[in-house]
C-alpha cells in the first residue's frame, strides 16, 4: 500500500532535499546526454549534409539504407561484425584476466609489492589512446619488436607475421593494444571489490579446512558478483565505444574493413563524408545495442541472490 505523506512530515522534507540534490545531476544529464540523444534521433530522420544549408525529413530511410546498402563500401553490417569481434575478443579476456590479476595481487603479503603491481598495471590507462596506438603501430611494423619476438618464440627467421596487413592479425593487434591499455583499470576495480569482502569470512573458511581453490569458487566469486557485473558492463560498453586505436591504425595505412568498428564508421560517414543524417542513424543503432546489452546484464544480476556480508 502506498504510504501517504502528511504535510510537513520529515519524510516529505527529505524527499524535497533529495530532489534538490539530484537536480544538478538531472540538468547535466538532460543537457549533455538526453538532448544529444533526442537531437541525434531527429537528425537520423533527415538527409542532413554537414555543409548544405537545407535538408529534408526522410523518415526511416537512413535506417533501411544502412541495413540494405553498402554505404560506399563500408557497410553497417560489416561494422557490426567488426565491433562484435573486437568486443568479444577484448571484453571476455579482459574481465577474466583482470580478475585473476586482482586475486594474485591481493595474495601478495607485502603492501608495497601490491602497490607496485597496481601502479604498473594501471599506468597504461593514463596514457592517451592516440599515443598508445602510435607506439604500438611502431612495435607492430615489420621491422618492429613484435615480429622479432614472434620469430624468436616460433623459432623462425625473417618471417613477417603481418601484424598490420593480415585481416586476423590486424584485428588481434587492435585487441592487444586495448587489452594492454585497460587491463590495469579493471584490475583495480576488482581489487577494490575484493578488499571489501570481510576477512572474517576467509578466516572461517580456513578454520573449516577449505582449500584456496574451493574458497575462491565458493566464497570470493559469489561475494564479488556485484563487482563482476559492474566491471563486465563497463568493459563491454567501453569495447563497444572503441575508436582511437582503430582510427590511428587506419591513419597509419592499415586496411579499414577488418577494424571498421561502428564508432569509426559513424565518424567517417558523418565527419569525413558529411552525411550527418546517416551517421546519426548509426549512432542511434549503437545506442540501442548498448542499451540492450546493459539491460541484459542487469537482468542477469537481478536473477541471482543479493550479496550481503
Amino acid at each position: 500500500m502506498k504510504k501517504k505523506l502528511t504535510p510537513y512530515s520529515i519524510e516529505k522534507k527529505q524527499v524535497r532535499w533529495g530532489f534538490l540534490f539530484t537536480v544538478p545531476c538531472l540538468v547535466f544529464f538532460a543537457v549533455f546526454s538526453f538532448y544529444p540523444i533526442i537531437s541525434a534521433f531527429l537528425t537520423s530522420l533527415t538527409n542532413r549534409d554537414a555543409i548544405r544549408r537545407t535538408y529534408d525529413f526522410i523518415g526511416f530511410q537512413n535506417y533501411t539504407y544502412l541495413f540494405t546498402q553498402s554505404n560506399g563500401g563500408f557497410s553497417l553490417l560489416n561494422s557490426l561484425k567488426a565491433t562484435a569481434i573486437f568486443t568479444v575478443g577484448t571484453f571476455v579476456p579482459m574481465v577474466v584476466v583482470s580478475l585473476i590479476l586482482a586475486v594474485l595481487i591481493m595474495q601478495l603479503r607485502k603492501p608495497g609489492h601490491s602497490k607496485m603491481f597496481e601502479l604498473a598495471y594501471y599506468t597504461p590507462a593514463v596514457l592517451s589512446s592516440v599515443v598508445a596506438a602510435t607506439i604500438w603501430m611502431i612495435l607492430f611494423q615489420p621491422t618492429g619488436l613484435f615480429n622479432q619476438i614472434s620469430n624468436f618464440v616460433m623459432h623462425t627467421s625473417g618471417k613477417d607475421y603481418q601484424w598490420l596487413t593480415n585481416n586476423s592479425m590486424l584485428r588481434a593487434s587492435t585487441i592487444i593494444v586495448y587489452f594492454w591499455k585497460y587491463i590495469g583499470y579493471f584490475t583495480i576495480l576488482f581489487i577494490t571489490g575484493l578488499a571489501s569482502i570481510p576477512p572474517t569470512i576467509y578466516e572461517a573458511a580456513i578454520v573449516d579446512g577449505s582449500s584456496r581453490w574451493h574458497t575462491f569458487w565458493k566464497i570470493t566469486l559469489p561475494l564479488l558478483k556485484p563487482t563482476v557485473v559492474l566491471v563486465s558492463i563497463m568493459a563491454m560498453l567501453q569495447c563497444l565505444k572503441t575508436f582511437s586505436t582503430q582510427y590511428m591504425f587506419v591513419q597509419g595505412g592499415t586496411a579499414r574493413e577488418p577494424i571498421d568498428v561502428i564508432t569509426m564508421n559513424i565518424y567517417y560517414t558523418g565527419v569525413v563524408n558529411r552525411r550527418l543524417g546517416r551517421s546519426s542513424a548509426m549512432s542511434i543503432i549503437l545506442f540501442l545495442i548498448m542499451l540492450c546489452f546493459t539491460y541484459l546484464q542487469f537482468s542477469t544480476q537481478k536473477g541471482g541472490d543479493d550479496v550481503e556480508y
Binding site: Q69, G73, T143
Partner: protein
C-alpha cells in the same frame, strides 16, 4: 526665445547630416579575421610575416590563425560550417573544397578588391584552364595558394648502392619501376628493410586513377569506374607490388616521402611535388646540396593507350559567405596581400616550393630556375586536375579500399573491381 533657440538647434542638428556632402568615412572599427589553414612550417613563417605587415597597414584588423594537419583541417572546417561557425577564410584541397562552392557556403571573388575587372580578367592572369575547378556559374570562388603535381624523386646514393646508375637506369615505365625496385629492395626474410619506391596510399585519386587512365580506363560522375579491363589491370599491378606479390612495399609501412629526406638508405624513390625540394633543404641541407637527388617524370605503362601523368590538385583560399560583407572584403584584401603582392608568388615558390599557376610566375625566371621545374612542367602538360566532383572523398576511400584489399588481403582484382564499381555507383546515385 529659449524655446525658439532649442527648436532651431534641433532643426540644424537634423539638417546638417542630411545635407552633408563630404566623403564617406571609412569604417575603421575593429575587425577580426579567422584564418584556418594546414600546417607547413616554411609557409607559416612567410604568412606570419605578411600578416604582421598587413596589420601594420590595417591597424584595426586582427588575424587569428589556426593551423592543423591537412586531415584534421578538413574535418575542422566541415564541422565548423555544419554548426555555422566557419572561419573568415580557409584553404582545403579542391576535392574537399568544391562542395562548399556547390552548397553556396563560400563567396565569389571580390574582383574589385582583388584588383581585377571581372572574372574573365582574373582568369586571364592564370595558366589556361588551371583554375577552372573553382569557376561556378560564371564566377570564380577561390584563388589558388598552390597547384601541385607529383613526379618521382630519386636518391642517387641508394641506386648506386644497388649497383644502378640513377641517370640512366631511372624508371620510365611502371614495368621499369617494378624491375628497378626489385633490384633495390632489401629484405630480412620477408621483412623489407629497404624499398625502391612506394605509392602515396590514401591519395588514390591523385596517383592511381591516372595509372588506370594510362590503360584506357576512366573515373567519371555518370558511369563510375569505366573500362573494367583497365581497372583490373591497374589493380593487378598493385597486387603484384604488395606483400601478396613481389613484396616491394605496402600502405602500412612508413610513407616514402617522409623517409626520403633523411637519406639514410631506407628508400630510393618517392612520389611527391616540387615542395619536397624546400623540405629537403630544411630537413637535410647536406643532402640537398650534395646533388645526390634528382626528379624524373611520372612513369607510364609500356602498353599505355594514353600518356597521362599523376593528377594535379589545388589548394584555394576561399571566403566564408556567411560572414559580413565587410569581413569578406577584408578577407579578400588579406588573400590579395598573400598571393598577388609583387614578389610574393616567387617567395611562396622559392621558400615553400608552392606553385601558383600565375602566368607571370610559371613563365618567369624564378620558376624556370627551380631545380627540375622542367620535369614538373612536363608532367603538368600531360595531366589534368584531380577528380573533385560528386562524392570525391568517398570515392577516394572506396578506391583506396579496393587497392588495399588486393594488396593486403589478396582479393581477386576482378572481384575488387566489381565491388568498387558497385560502391562508386551507389555513392554517385546517393
Amino acid at each position: 526665445m529659449k524655446k525658439a533657440l532649442i527648436a532651431m538647434l534641433l532643426v540644424l542638428a537634423i539638417a546638417f547630416p542630411m545635407f552633408a556632402q563630404g566623403a564617406v568615412e571609412e569604417d575603421n572599427s575593429p575587425i577580426t579575421l579567422e584564418f584556418w589553414t594546414h600546417e607547413d612550417a616554411a609557409r607559416a613563417e612567410l604568412e606570419d610575416k605578411w600578416i604582421k605587415e598587413f596589420q601594420e597597414i590595417h591597424p584595426n584588423v586582427t588575424v587569428n590563425v589556426t593551423r592543423q594537419s591537412a586531415e584534421k583541417l578538413r574535418e575542422l572546417v566541415q564541422t565548423a560550417f555544419a554548426s555555422g561557425e566557419g572561419p573568415s577564410f580557409f584553404n582545403l584541397p579542391i576535392e574537399n573544397e568544391y562542395q562548399y562552392i556547390e552548397a553556396g557556403r563560400v563567396a565569389p571573388c571580390d574582383y574589385k578588391t582583388l584588383g581585377f575587372k571581372d572574372a574573365a580578367d582574373l582568369l586571364d592572369h592564370y595558366q589556361d584552364g588551371m583554375i577552372d575547378a573553382v569557376v561556378y556559374d560564371g564566377d570564380v570562388y577561390g584563388l589558388p595558394l598552390e597547384l601541385t603535381n607529383w613526379s618521382i624523386f630519386i636518391n642517387k646514393n641508394v641506386f648506386r648502392a644497388a649497383g644502378l646508375d640513377a641517370e640512366t637506369d631511372y624508371p620510365k615505365t611502371w614495368e621499369d619501376m617494378v624491375e628497378v625496385s626489385s633490384k633495390i629492395v632489401l629484405r630480412d626474410g620477408d621483412i623489407i628493410t629497404r624499398r625502391g619506391f612506394d605509392f602515396r596510399y590514401s591519395y588514390e585519386l591523385t596517383y592511381f586513377v591516372p595509372m588506370v587512365e594510362q590503360l584506357g580506363g576512366e573515373l567519371n560522375e555518370k558511369e563510375g569506374c569505366v573500362n573494367k579491363d583497365a581497372w583490373v589491370k591497374a589493380l593487378t599491378f598493385m597486387q603484384n607490388w604488395g606483400p601478396q606479390g613481389l613484396n616491394l612495399g605496402n600502405s602500412s609501412l612508413t610513407a616514402a616521402r617522409k623517409l626520403f629526406n633523411k637519406n639514410n638508405g631506407d628508400i630510393a624513390m618517392a612520389n611527391t611535388g616540387l615542395y619536397q625540394e624546400s623540405r629537403i633543404l630544411t630537413d637535410n641541407p647536406d643532402f640537398y646540396n650534395s646533388g645526390e637527388w634528382m626528379v624524373v617524370p611520372y612513369p607510364v605503362f609500356e602498353d599505355a593507350v594514353k600518356n597521362v601523368a599523376g593528377c594535379y590538385y589545388g589548394h584555394f583560399y576561399m571566403v566564408n559567405a556567411d560572414k559580413s560583407e565587410r569581413e569578406q572584403k577584408m578577407a579578400w584584401e588579406l588573400i590579395k596581400y598573400f598571393l598577388l603582392t609583387e614578389g610574393h608568388a616567387e617567395e611562396y615558390l622559392t621558400n615553400v616550393g608552392l606553385i601558383q599557376p600565375l602566368k607571370t610566375l610559371m613563365n618567369g625566371e624564378t620558376y624556370q630556375s627551380m631545380p627540375y621545374s622542367d620535369v614538373f612542367s612536363g608532367d603538368f602538360a600531360r595531366s589534368h586536375i584531380v577528380y573533385y566532383g560528386k562524392g570525391a572523398a568517398e570515392i577516394q576511400s572506396a578506391i583506396g579500399s579496393a587497392v588495399k584489399s588486393v594488396m593486403l588481403q589478396g582479393t581477386d582484382p576482378a572481384a575488387a573491381y566489381d565491388a568498387l564499381q558497385k560502391n562508386v555507383l551507389e555513392i554517385l546515385a546517393d
